[in-house]
């Protein structure tokens, strides 16, 4: 079962109350130089890791665990990048040593060393992948295993949420500078760990892959002026002057994408226009986890933005922008963040929620949609906006909140200043 966004894994549900640990400010580092912005908490919140510069040339990953007095420190390396949680308590990251770049997942470095590695991806199912370059050949790696083929370039590696599948845009043919003919012949396609598709496109942009990895799709440029969607190596029969990134139905049964018609943007499904409306802009379609609803960001008129849900426009308009919609795990609620009149906004079910924050992150919902929460920033402080109210805490760093699966608690993890030092806290907030 995929773990719904914003909902904690089961292991968290056994805990209650708060726990914290002290993060002493390093003697040799002024407090303002402590790189909290690089901090990452484990998914269960029991650990926090921060890459810290141990010398001008080297850094170490310092990991604090709730209940343990001292942090653990990794071996010194030249660079640590893309730090993120994996599984319940572990971390994954890319690191550079004198031998080259590799990835570390669940404390285990991969055997492969490359000249360069970037774009570390971690799936909810616990798989990790990154793009690598060695000797000017580009090869994605998944769980330490290189793809079957190398390419001129790769882009946008993405992992299936639960299965081991992966996909990326790949460039199969070199293009010399000034060589228009080769470019026009089509040098791009979608690659997976099994190899490239047979189709070649003039351009391919945003690869997506279904949860189980059986369906992959990408928005493709077929000629200089024609775009379409390619699904499992088959292009839709229709082309448009432009399209945006597709989305795959959660059951993998259909593929949807915004397409530009002469009267405006609309949504197409499996190559056929599916929505009656035409808009100034339409992008970022998202399915509810149960696949019964689809929402997208729409501009019904120039400079105005709203959400379109199943083809119907919501009433709330903003003049700045809206980000990709987020559904609750049950699909009954939808929210998104954006900007209106120069202020950050949070929209939940077509209602703006407060205007008291400078920045707001994507909302999370409890399993059955009873509660909604979002990380926010006011001035220099982070806190959580829960069901329309801000929690009165002042974190200097925090990660996105999460609900326990039973919907009884909200878990917040953050760092607070405490005298000369800092405290990392994991706290369970009981919900009514």
């Amino acid at each position: 079962m995929p773990i719904a966004q914003g909902t904690s894994p089961i292991i968290w549900d056994t805990s209650s109350g708060s726990m914290s640990c002290m993060i002493p400010c390093p003697v040799d580092a002024p407090s303002e130089r402590f790189p909290f912005w690089k901090a990452t908490a484990s998914r269960d919140g029991t650990r926090i890791a921060i890459p810290i510069q141990s010398s001008p040339e080297e850094c170490q990953l310092c990991t604090w665990t709730l209940g343990e007095p001292e942090p653990t420190r990794s071996e010194p390396v030249l660079t640590i990048a893309d730090l993120q949680p994996i599984a319940d308590q572990d971390f994954s990251f890319l690191c550079q040593t004198d031998e080259g770049w590799t990835a570390v997942a669940r404390n285990v470095p991969w055997e492969f060393q490359a000249e360069f590695a970037w774009n570390l991806r971690v799936s909810a199912g616990g798989n990790a992948a990154c793009e690598t370059q060695d000797d000017r050949r580009y090869t994605p790696m998944v769980n330490g295993n290189v793809w079957s083929e190398s390419y001129e370039n790769t882009y946008g590696l993405t992992l299936a949420a639960t299965g081991p599948g992966s996909a990326a845009v790949v460039q199969t043919t070199p293009i010399a500078e000034g060589d228009l003919t080769t470019f026009l012949s089509g040098c791009f396609t979608l690659g997976t760990e099994k190899g490239p598709w047979s189709g070649r496109y003039m351009g391919a942009f945003t690869p997506v892959i279904s949860s189980d990895g059986t369906v992959a799709a990408v928005d493709a440029r077929i000629t200089q002026q024609d775009y379409t969607i390619a699904v499992n190596d088959q292009c839709w029969p229709t082309t448009w002057p432009s399209v945006w990134a597709p989305v795959i139905h959660p059951q993998g049964t259909s593929v949807w994408a915004p397409v530009k018609e002469s009267r405006g943007w609309t949504l197409a499904c499996d190559g056929e226009v599916a929505w009656p409306g035409r808009y100034t802009q339409l992008w970022e379609p998202v399915f509810a986890p149960n696949g019964r609803r689809i929402a997208a960001v729409a501009s019904p008129e120039f400079g105005q933005w709203t959400l379109a849900l199943d083809g119907d426009l919501m009433k709330t308009r903003v003049d700045g922008y809206l980000r990709k919609p987020i559904f609750s795990p049950c699909g009954s609620r939808v929210g998104c963040t954006g900007m209106h009149k120069g202020k950050a906004v949070l929209l939940i079910d077509d209602h703006p929620m407060g205007d008291l924050f400078d920045k707001v992150w994507d909302p999370v919902f409890s399993q059955y949609g009873s509660h909604a929460a979002a990380k926010i920033k006011r001035g220099p402080w982070y806190t959580v906006f829960l069901d329309g109210m801000a929690i009165e805490r002042r974190f200097i760093w925090m990660r996105n909140p999460a609900f326990t699966p039973d919907g009884m608690h909200l878990i917040i993890c953050g760092i607070e200043k405490s005298g000369a030092h800092y405290h990392y806290t994991r706290e369970f907030i009981a919900l009514k």
Binding site: E115, Q171, L180, S262, K377
Partner: protein
Amino acid sequence: MNEADQRIEAIHDEGLESGLAQFDEDRVKKIIKKVIEEEASPRLDAYLSSCVHCGLCSDSCHYYLSRDKDPAYSPAGKVKESLLPLLRGKKITPETLKKAAIISYTHCNLCRRCTMYCPLGVDIAYLISLVRRICYLCGVVPLYIQDTANSHSATFNQMWIKNDEWLDCLYWQEEEAREELPELTIPIEREGADVMYSVIGPEPKFRAQLIYQAAVIMEKAGINWTFPGTRGWDNSDMCMYTGDYEMMGRLKKAHFETAMRLKVDRIVMGECGHAFRSVFDTGNRYLGWKTPPIPVVHAVEFYHEILTQERITIKKKLATPVTFHDPCNIVRGRGLHEMAREVVGICCDTFIEMEPNREHNYCCGAGGGVINCGPPFKNERVLGNRVKAEQLLAAKAKGAEIVVTPCHNCHGGLEDIIHHYGIDMEIKFLSDIIYETMEI
């Protein structure tokens, strides 16, 4: 045949020729009909019906002035020779299209100086852009600029830079800068930073010292900033100038989405003019954003802010006399000329104005993608901007030894003019003189 037409006929460009080899008059006419009926705004009719052929635009154009007032180079003349044959001609031949492409891509910098002098406000740049749009849809685009647009399509930057090369450049510049400032960090992907700093492809490719200098300025000014580690770091846009608006939209979406994902308060752009036009005016509006969805600040505004707020201090002003070249896109396009002069005044002892200046300044001749059309058109570009050489020589005669200009294209254009006309002047960015004079 007049001299201008002879020069056009003599041009051989692989991009134009390969497109013209596929010429199909019916298809071209359909494209023109589509552009006029579905894309062109009511401005087109308004401009074409209101132009009274008064000729006041002529003396505003550096091509016209530099070509001894040859009417073929007057703004209205260029519209007459490129757009009108496509709109009103009964027969369209490959020669018609080639001439329209050469005039629109290489005889006009879209600098909008003529618009200021037109008593009826006709935006010639808009009309010439329509010609480019038609030529692009017909596949008739000069090779070098089309190659740059292809780079945008393939890599989302204008220099074919791959993602590892971008990141490697940032790590390299951080390492270099730490020798001067051991505590310095070039933050990559810092979510929640106040500033996302974006640059154009030539910086990591050819001018990495600008990234170094920017990092030092950010560090000393105490800015909470970040570079993106993903596509979206490059704010440039030659697709805007080829007429490939679909790709322009894709580039600008990536740029703004990167800023949104990083939750920054604003985007500070490096010293580039055309990128500012794309991010601040053209690209955002094409996508449906009335204003940039994330506030955009050009480097001139940013430097002015940190200098006037004394977030950095100038240790010793530059003694060498300088002049300032106003880039079209941030002066006529944004009105940053006074701010730029204040920045220069804070950093330099002696400032010598070029004449004319501010919003009346002549284009460098590189703008509007003209320099990106490459070697086949270089001679025309340099000879078509003799007035810029005369401006520089006059400033030089008054003692100016350095030309400061906050735009990459202007650097390229001025370098060619300085070289061709043998003017002994050095060209610098604002960040060059700030870095050179600031307290570190």
